[in-house]
């Protein structure tokens, strides 16, 4: 390995060589420290906070599972968890369905494919805050889409989901799908382009119709793409914070709260640090539950190759 031929000879040469040998480790050292402290150390620290009695100020005492008991008996937390289930479920299913549909259409050797792809993907370049602001305006009960449809002659049309506690979370779905579905399309399109087309040609020779080729051969062979899209989308869903803040602010009341906005509200505006830390641990647990099987299968695949 590194510089073994200069090991003997003169002293200064040897020390230069020693430095040279150490260099790779020295270069990685800051990252090592950062990883250890700011990722693992902070997770541990946060875990500790979640087992303390911290409220306005962090306290490093031991309060057992008190904060978790408080969390699980908190109505607002359950609203947030239920909203995440609604939002996450619809967001993932819709993004996948739209993304796959568009990818298949775009794979039919259409003209201007590059331009169309550019249009489908541009929302991904936007901040969720910008997306939220735009959709907040479109969904404005008085002046947005509601007014547009009424002006067309449908006087009784109402579309006030933004201010309806029962429906507010669905506006987050609408905006989220608008932002992310083009990206899922790009994932599926890359997957489609990677399929070996001799199988498809053979099926065509056998007289299979295009829809059945897709249904029987193409879509099943996209399974890894489905898998990674599922991981990415559920990850986005669990972490979603900005979009909710910009679109509904978690409101009306806390009707459209999600765990991320819950954590923010309790940790930074309501002075419930222990409770906030406990909710953050639950979010971490959710992500780990999704990521670990994924990493495991990735590693196993890597080893088999």
């Amino acid at each position: 390995m590194p510089v073994s031929h200069s090991k003997t000879f003169f002293k200064d040469l040897a020390s230069a060589a020693a430095l040279e040998r150490l260099l790779p480790k020295l270069v990685m050292a800051p990252t090592f420290v950062v990883t250890l402290v700011f990722i693992y150390g902070f997770i541990f620290w946060n875990a500790w906070l979640s087992f303390s009695s911290s409220r306005m100020l962090p306290r490093m005492d031991w309060a057992g599972f008190t904060q978790y008991v408080r969390l699980f008996s908190n109505d607002r937390w359950w609203v947030a968890a239920e909203n995440l289930a609604i939002f996450g479920g619809l967001f993932i299913v819709l993004c996948m369905a739209i993304g796959l549909f568009l990818a298949i259409l775009l794979d039919q050797q259409v003209r201007l494919e590059g331009a169309i792809r550019t249009v489908y993907l541009y929302p991904m370049a936007l901040s969720f805050i910008v997306t939220g602001t735009a959709w907040k305006w479109l969904l404005n009960p008085g002046l947005g889409i509601e007014k547009l449809v009424r002006d067309l002659g449908f006087e009784n049309f109402t579309f006030d989901w933004l201010v309806d506690p029962e429906k507010a979370i669905y506006t987050v779905v609408i905006a989220g799908v608008w932002q992310s579905s083009g990206f899922v399309m790009a994932l599926f399109l890359a997957g489609l382009r990677g399929i070996d087309d001799t199988i498809i040609k053979a099926a065509q020779v056998d007289g299979a119709s295009l829809p059945s080729i897709y249904w029987r051969i193409v879509i099943p062979s996209l399974r890894p793409v489905f898998f990674s899209a599922l991981i990415i989308l559920s990850h986005i869903a669990i972490k979603s914070f900005d979009l909710v803040m910009a679109l509904t602010g978690g409101g009306p009341g806390y009707a459209s709260d999600v765990p991320a906005t819950f954590m923010y509200a309790f940790s930074f505006t309501r002075g419930q640090i222990g409770l906030g830390a406990a909710s953050a641990m639950m979010m971490l647990a959710a992500v780990v539950a999704i990521i670990v099987p994924f990493l495991y299968s990735e590693l196993r695949r890597g080893r088999n190759e």
């Binding site: 382009r193 990850h235 940790s267 953050a280």
Partner: protein, 289 residues
């Protein structure tokens, strides 16, 4: 896949193009409405159609959004916050990309015992929900005396960006043939010489991907911005959210839209100019999310 499409019916083609066009409209309408609304005076917004072109186009809303709109307590528009974001993004992107390049170089060309474990451990940084580090980091920034400032945000973005940039560079450098660097080593070239003479000249594509990815992520960040910055040190995403949700006075929808476009412009420009690299970063970087 190159399927024989020639024998497809015209109806099929029509269906395909019809769907694609319809969806393109769906993606473009919000942007169109934003631009149109930002160019209309307020009374025209109230009376006119959402989709209508402005009858008396005016840049007044843009002027207000840039220079005099109220974001919370102060009424100086977005311009200060825009520059905050610039001063936050530039150092954070440069530093995190540099560290990522060095890390990727070591992890592929100078592997040592434990380096793979370190890489695996670092990858967790790509996955964790940042909520789990928010509270400890808030305390730490306080200790360091940089809480509430742009410098603090640069610090946070570098720390949590390194995992991504390392992933990018490592996965790129792993394809550099070891023979190439080994030959240089036998000729007596050292760590830095090999990096600057052999590895760096091969790197422009991945540097572009990393810079674009980091730029978009950091410019668009809201979570760190809203938690770790205060007053006139806030990034533009936080200022935009404050502006839109300021409840005092008459709601100026045209100003909201102009402000949103201002906040979106830098990343949109990057996307339009370098779409190919943008998508590459998304797919490479998003195996983590």
């Amino acid at each position: 896949m190159n399927k024989a499409v020639g024998r497809q019916h015209r109806a099929g083609r029509l269906f395909i193009y019809g769907c694609l066009l319809l969806v393109a409209v769906y993606y473009l309408v919000p942007l169109f409405v934003m631009i149109m609304t930002s160019l209309k005076p307020l009374d025209e917004i109230r009376t006119g159609s959402l989709l209508g072109l402005p009858l008396n186009p005016t840049l007044e809303a843009w002027r207000v959004a840039w220079g005099s709109a109220c974001t919370g307590v102060s009424c100086e528009g977005l311009k200060g916050y825009f520059w905050n974001s610039v001063f936050m993004v530039v150092p954070a992107v440069v530093i995190s990309t540099m560290i990522g390049a060095f890390n990727g170089y070591v992890l592929t060309q100078w592997r040592f015992r434990g380096s793979d474990v370190l890489f695996g451990a670092l990858l967790l940084g790509c996955f964790i929900p940042f909520q789990v580090v928010l509270l400890p980091m808030a305390r730490t920034l306080g200790f360091l005396g940089i809480s509430g400032s742009v410098a603090g945000l640069v610090f946070v973005h570098v720390i949590y960006g390194v995992a991504f940039t390392t992933l990018f560079f490592r996965n790129f450098y792993v394809n550099i043939p070891r023979e190439l660097t080994n030959a240089a080593r036998i000729d007596g070239a050292g760590f830095w010489l090999i990096f600057f003479r052999i590895v760096l000249p091969l790197s422009p594509p991945i540097i572009v991907v990393s810079v674009i990815w980091q730029f978009t992520q950091i410019w668009n960040d809201f979570l760190f911005g809203v938690v770790y910055s205060a007053g006139n040190q806030q990034p533009i995403t936080v200022a935009l959210n404050n502006l839109v949700n300021t409840s005092t006075g008459v709601k100026q929808y045209n100003v909201d839209m102009a402000a949103a476009i201002i906040a979106a412009l830098p990343t949109l420009v990057v996307y339009v100019v370098s779409g190919k690299y943008f998508v590459r970063g998304l797919t490479a970087g998003s195996v983590k999310g």
